[in-house]
């Protein structure tokens, strides 16, 4: 069976959930091979998790330079393997870094690039969700290899044991004149809350929250539900909440099981980032707020009384 490459998304020696989704999807297309690019010793920490999710092979591309250059080490490793095993598809996380790797890899290997994919069938028919979920599009690559950017949270993860045989991949020496050197890396620390794009539940606040201090109402509800916290552009622009938590056209696209919108009017630009959520609950003072058009359950009222009451109800039920 053909090998299907999956670029492993990892941080601080831990595998991100999206990797398991990609391994699950890769099994439909062939035999999943996980590709680990990192500093020496990284693959050893990840091998067990990868094998438990169906990786038959684990390609180990380790070097001290792996973290010192922007996207080049990942592109080099994947391009080497594309040439070696001619995979029907390469699955890469659809985050900012991953898309850069994917675009460069598609150019270098002369492959078609399918971006922001939420599903793929065994015959390489991929599903995009575009314009913030307003349309779904079926597309395919006409090249031998399809480069696929995979959006986190799109399919259910299925565990399956794989052999996880490790194989070393030599990274070529970095060409300084064509590479961008990285220093002072500082990963964003999200604290104890789940990451926005990977969370099952998101609680988001908008302009109606009114101030940065008031956002603790949003955070308290989020914590009772083990949820990630999001914010609308209006809330971010007003300085209520940091930029990296912005949901919408110019922020992140989320697709959780449950999305709770507090004091968010639901402008088209915000809806573009969350309307594919499975269940949407909205609280807003304005009965005409457009968020109610897409909410499965809406309450017209004051978020400062409703949200704490809901937090209390959730606590009651989980104790």
């Amino acid at each position: 069976m053909a090998e299907v490459l999956v670029l492993v998304d990892h941080v601080d020696g831990e595998i991100k959930k999206n990797t398991y989704e990609m391994l699950t999807a890769a099994r439909r297309l062939g035999e999943p091979s996980a590709v680990v690019v990192g500093t020496p010793g990284t693959a050893a920490k990840l091998a067990e998790g990868l094998a438990a999710h169906g990786a038959e092979k684990v390609y180990v591309a380790e070097s001290e330079d792996a973290v010192n250059y922007l996207s080049t080490p990942q592109v080099d490793a994947l391009a080497t393997l594309v040439e070696r095993v001619s995979p029907p598809a390469v699955l890469i996380p659809a985050g900012a870094d991953g898309r850069e790797v994917a675009g460069r890899l598609a150019v270098r290997t002369n492959s078609g690039w399918l971006n922001d994919i939420v599903d793929i069938s065994g015959d390489r028919e991929a599903t995009h969700s575009i314009f913030g979920g307003a349309f779904t599009v079926q597309a395919r690559a006409t090249s031998d290899t399809a480069v696929v950017s995979w959006r986190a949270g799109s399919i259910e993860i299925e565990e399956q044991a794989g052999a996880g045989t490790q194989e070393t991949v030599e990274l070529p020496a970095i060409d300084e004149s064509t590479s961008a050197k990285v220093s002072n890396r500082a990963p964003i620390v999200g604290g104890d809350r789940p990451e926005l794009t990977e969370a099952n539940v998101v609680v988001a606040g908008g302009r109606g929250v009114g101030s940065a201090e008031n956002f603790n109402v949003v955070e308290t509800l989020a914590d009772s539900l083990h949820a990630a916290v999001g914010a609308s552009r209006a809330a971010v622009d007003s300085g209520y909440y940091p930029n990296q938590f912005q949901v919408g056209q110019t922020g992140k696209t989320v697709s959780p099981q449950l999305y709770i919108a507090l004091g968010i009017s639901g402008a088209i630009q915000h809806r573009a980032g969350m309307q594919t959520s499975k269940t949407i609950v909205a609280v807003n003072k304005d009965p005409e707020a457009p968020i109610f058009e897409i909410a499965d359950f809406g309450v017209v009222g004051d978020l400062f009384s409703i949200s704490p009451q809901l937090t209390e109800e959730v606590a009651k039920r989980s104790s």
């Binding site: 922007l70 870094d97 575009i130 979920g133 220093s183 499965d296 039920r317």
Partner: protein, 260 residues
């Protein structure tokens, strides 16, 4: 120093966007078109470099006739000249093919040291144009810049993405993509608007770039769209007014949905 700034006209995200039934491409005629906001920041950054030293700024766009509006806006902000690649054959080009066209077009501008672009357009959202161009030109790409400085033969940025922040440096020539926080773009002055009318716009077809029709557009792309469908409209859910028990009502709903 010669700087090329990539600009793009996109459907206004505040208007309804749709796809064309005929060939499954973005229906650019059906919605209002604007210069993508992130491109204005790229133009602004080029203008700052010009003001600090000396630079000639060429704006480059690939698009139909009405992309002229985006070009005029950039020229009225202060860019010096423009290259407009306009050819019916381009219609339907995917992201990789568009990158190939842009790379060829950058080659028509003499001695380019710096290419500036937005980090992500609001329509295609590939978010990788700078990386792809770097790959094609054999130049380093410095992406998602919140700050940019160009000193001698080196470009340095402060990079910020969802994953974190870092400093990035590379030698020129290089491609830099700018992020939303890099600057506040200026408004064109009346004088700028008048001056823009006299600035040269070099219109090129794909033949001028050494490409032929089979290499671009739907035919030249390595991806194909088989079908598309609008998402079924979400059925209007339940809406209640808070009678002092709004939180409890939500909790009951969530229990009913087995979400808590």
């Amino acid at each position: 120093m010669n700087i090329v700034v990539l600009i793009k006209q996109v459907p206004d995200t505040w208007s309804e966007r749709t796809l064309s039934d005929a060939d499954k491409t973005l229906d650019r005629a059906s919605s209002d078109a604007v210069l993508d906001e992130i491109n204005e920041r790229a133009v602004e950054e080029a203008l700052k470099i010009k003001e600090a030293g000396d630079a000639t700024i060429t704006v480059l766009t690939v698009g139909p006739d009405r992309a002229t509006d985006a070009i005029r806006k950039a020229l009225s902000m202060g860019a010096d000249k423009a290259v407009h690649v306009n050819d019916d054959a381009i219609h339907g080009s995917d992201a990789v093919t568009t990158a190939r066209i842009l790379a060829k077009a950058i080659g028509t501008v003499e001695d380019v040291q710096l290419v500036l672009a937005g980090n992500e357009a609001t329509d295609g959202r590939s978010g990788a144009m700078a990386g792809m161009l770097g790959e094609l030109l054999g130049w380093p790409s410095l992406t998602h810049a919140n700050e940019l400085s160009v000193d001698g033969g080196t470009a340095s940025i402060k990079r910020e993405t969802d994953e974190g922040t870092c400093d990035v440096t590379a030698s020129l020539p290089a491609v830099v993509s700018v992020a939303e926080k890099i600057n506040e773009p200026r408004y064109p002055s009346f004088k700028g608007i008048m001056a823009a009318k006299k600035k040269p716009v070099n219109a090129l077809g794909i033949g001028d770039l050494g490409l032929d029709a089979g290499e671009v557009g739907l035919a030249g792309s390595l991806t194909q769209v088989d079908s598309f469908a609008p998402r079924p409209p979400k059925s209007g859910g339940q809406k209640v007014s808070d009678e002092g028990d709004g939180g409890q009502k939500i909790a009951e709903f969530l229990v009913g949905q087995k979400l808590i």
